[in-house]
């Protein structure tokens, strides 16, 4: 449309100048020429699931202020150009996320300046266009920017599986004493002696959170112990998925101990999804029913201190465990024993004493040692002005 208008006006101008007998050679000076973009490349965006073409270019040195880059696309063999973007100077890249996989496109990039007048006094000037080679988008097998993370994961896996393999072949590994886990039997024994129940709160998140899975593993051991000693267990839940998993865990534990007669469905119950309604209900239970042993193990938020303090006020022995740094101080202040961070994840292995599981704790410790070493080396090199460690660990 602009082409038509421009050429009609040009014709009118020429005709008018000829008709008026105006001397030739008095045309207005031509507008400044806009440069073409440099190094324009259109390629499939690397490391994605497809449907995206990456356009990159360099801003030409003589680019006037206020200029932008207009990107257009066409599907060969037809060359009907459709505008896809207007990109400001300095950005030098654009991702066309409307491309279809397998469809071949060509892209055209040109400089555009809205405020410069062209030869006919129309606002806007467009520079010469640069056209890319044909390109099609497709999904990729690898995300290059995450390769360092993949290598780290593979190394971690090697250490872990190697330690598990060594444990499986009979190597004994030393695991330091974890007071909170040693106290589990003591707490359940106390509850049995006093004839009061054991309260187990498996956190407030779903089994999608790994702390809840760790908590369910410990619940299995606690349930086996309560089945063995014949004490009552109460496990109130906030999340419906955790409720169903916990019920199956406890049922299986009682079955495995040969005491299915002691299992009651009400042992594992669902309260409500609301965080504070849940904690109000559990606190009320603690005060009314006065369990002798409270296990607060899993992922907690603001309700951690309310539960721990209420339990403390009833005189129960309390074993807590969480990997959330924000709640750890409250558990440490209000509970008798606290599992801190990775002690929670090691609990299943520690309690079962299965060599294979203990081997995995050893593997984790080896990985931690390797990270510590890398951290130390990185600190020294960063202090000396070399940032290779940070660059090595950067991922996206």
């Amino acid at each position: 449309m602009r082409w038509v208008i421009r050429h009609c006006l040009l014709a009118i101008l020429v005709f008018a100048s000829a008709a008026s007998g105006a001397p030739s050679g008095t045309l207005t000076p031509p507008p400044p020429e806009l440069p073409a973009p440099d190094q324009f490349v259109a390629k499939d965006r690397p490391g994605d699931s497809g449907k995206a073409i990456l356009l990159t270019w360099k801003d030409p040195p003589s680019l006037p202020a206020g200029a932008t880059f207009e990107a257009r696309r066409a599907e060969p063999p037809a060359y009907e150009w459709t505008k896809v973007a207007d990109v400001k100077a300095g950005v030098q890249r654009y991702v066309d996320a409307t491309a279809k996989d397998g469809v071949v496109y060509r892209y055209e990039l040109r400089v555009h300046h809205a405020d410069l007048a062209d030869t006919l006094g129309l606002a806007g000037t467009i520079g010469p266009a640069v056209v890319s080679d044909p390109v099609a988008s497709h999904d990729n097998w690898i995300k290059p920017e995450r390769m360092n993370s993949l290598v780290a994961c593979v190394l971690f896996l090697v250490l872990l599986l190697g330690s598990i393999g060594m444990a499986g072949r009979g190597t004994q590994f030393f695991i330091r004493r974890i007071a909170g886990l040693n106290a589990v039997d003591e707490a359940i024994g106390r509850a049995t002696e006093l004839g009061r129940k054991v309260l187990y709160v498996p956190g407030i998140l779903s089994p999608g959170d790994i702390q809840t899975v760790a908590s369910l593993a410990i619940l299995g051991h606690v349930a086996r112990a309560t089945a063995r000693y014949g004490s009552d267990l109460d496990c109130p839940n906030r999340d419906p998925l955790t409720f169903t998993s916990a019920r199956e865990t406890v049922r299986s534990a009682y079955l495995a101990e040969g005491r299915p007669d002691l299992f009651r469905e009400e042992m594992v119950n669902y309260i409500t999804y609301d965080q504070f309604a849940y904690v109000a209900a559990v606190s009320g239970r603690m005060v009314r029913e006065r369990p002798a042993a409270n296990f607060l193990i899993g992922h907690f938020f603001a309700e951690a201190l309310i539960l721990a303090e209420t339990g403390q006020s009833t005189g129960a022995i309390q074993i807590a465990g969480t990997a959330d740094p924000a709640q750890l101080p409250f558990f440490v202040a209000a509970c008798d024993y606290t599992l801190i961070g990775e002690e929670l994840y090691a609990a299943g292995a520690y309690l079962s004493r299965e060599p294979v599981l203990l081997g995995s704790i050893r593997g984790t410790d080896l990985a931690k040692a390797a990270l510590l070493l890398l951290g130390l080396v990185g600190i020294v090199s960063a202090t000396l002005g070399h940032d290779w460690a940070a660059a090595l660990l950067k991922t996206q």
């Binding site: 207007d86 996320a97 999804y273 965080q275 504070f276 938020f301 603001a302 006020s313 740094p325 996206q396």
Partner: protein, 290 residues
């Protein structure tokens, strides 16, 4: 019972009574205590100050009614700052229980103070979506995939505020006002994968955890709890006389007003800690002599 034994076995209800008085008295009789600013809040403020008119930011309401006294003042101070600087704001709520109604109420309050701001051009409310991690992953590809319509059901494609904006990577910053994990997801998903800078406004309980992210550069700033909100309000009032006038006159609850009560309760807790330790040391000395 000796004094030492009495101090040791103070009934917790006395502590509760003092706490109640320490909170209630400053609310009824405001003291107007000064608020000093910290580096993390100044960093957040200066980052927003460095933005230009027309820039676009994302504000996420990731908290519920229980932490509204801490988080509402933060969200509103941020929103006022953006409006004063003519920065465009896209809002959403990712917290399931109450996040949406808090966002609606908070946004409506601030919008009334800036009648010249146009909905759909200067700011937009995208409503609530479940599954924060999945939402954030989709925001990295196409915002309209995660939020096809705004809170009123209007399609976002075609809204002036989204002209030329397709993904979260194009935003200057994400400000997440958070309680719980959702704030961390913005850091580990959006900042790590799409490079969008993040500022967080957590509750005071969670704030210590985020210093690690702040020091590693994964956060551009942090408003820790009600104190952080009060600091931001102070900085805003110092930089903009209109905001100073507003915070002086407003009858709404602000972080600055809450600081008097917070100071009172800190004083009570420190006092009881001191008393408890005096009793402990005296008891130890008594045992040593015996």
């Amino acid at each position: 019972m000796s004094l030492i034994d009495r101090l040791f076995s103070v009934d917790r209800r006395w502590i509760f009574l003092f706490v109640m008085l320490a909170v209630a008295v400053p609310i009824l009789f405001p003291l107007g205590l000064p608020v000093t600013t910290t580096g993390s809040t100044r960093a957040a403020f200066e980052y927003i100050e460095s933005l230009h008119a027309g820039d676009i930011v994302w504000l996420s309401y990731d908290y519920g009614p229980s932490s509204a006294p801490e988080n509402d003042p933060m969200a509103e101070a941020f929103l006022r700052h953006c409006f004063v600087k003519d920065v465009r704001v896209v809002m959403c709520a990712l917290y399931p229980l109450g996040g949406l109604s808090l966002m609606n109420a908070s946004a409506a309050r601030v919008a009334r103070e800036f009648p010249e701001k146009k909905y759909g051009t200067d700011y937009v409310n995208l409503g609530y979506k479940d599954g924060p991690e999945a939402v954030m992953r989709r925001l990295g590809e196409n915002i309209a995939d995660a939020f096809p319509t705004d809170v009123n059901g209007t399609p976002i494609e075609g809204m002036p505020i989204f002209q030329g904006i397709r993904t979260i990577g194009q935003f200057k910053v994400v400000f997440t006002v958070a309680t719980g994990l959702i704030g961390e997801y913005w850091i580990t998903l959006v900042n790590a994968q799409f490079g969008t800078p993040v500022i967080i406004g957590p509750t005071a309980v969670s704030a210590p955890k985020y210093y690690a992210f702040l020091n590693s550069g994964q956060l551009k700033g942090m408003l820790g709890g009600m104190k952080g909100a009060a600091e931001y309000e102070q900085l805003l009032a110092r930089a903009y006389p209109a905001m100073s006038e507003f915070y002086h006159r407003t009858r709404l609850f602000t972080g600055t007003k809450g600081m008097d009560a917070q100071t009172g309760i800190h004083a009570v807790i420190v006092g009881f800690i001191f008393l408890g330790n005096v009793a402990f040391l005296l008891a130890r000395r008594r045992e040593g002599r015996a």
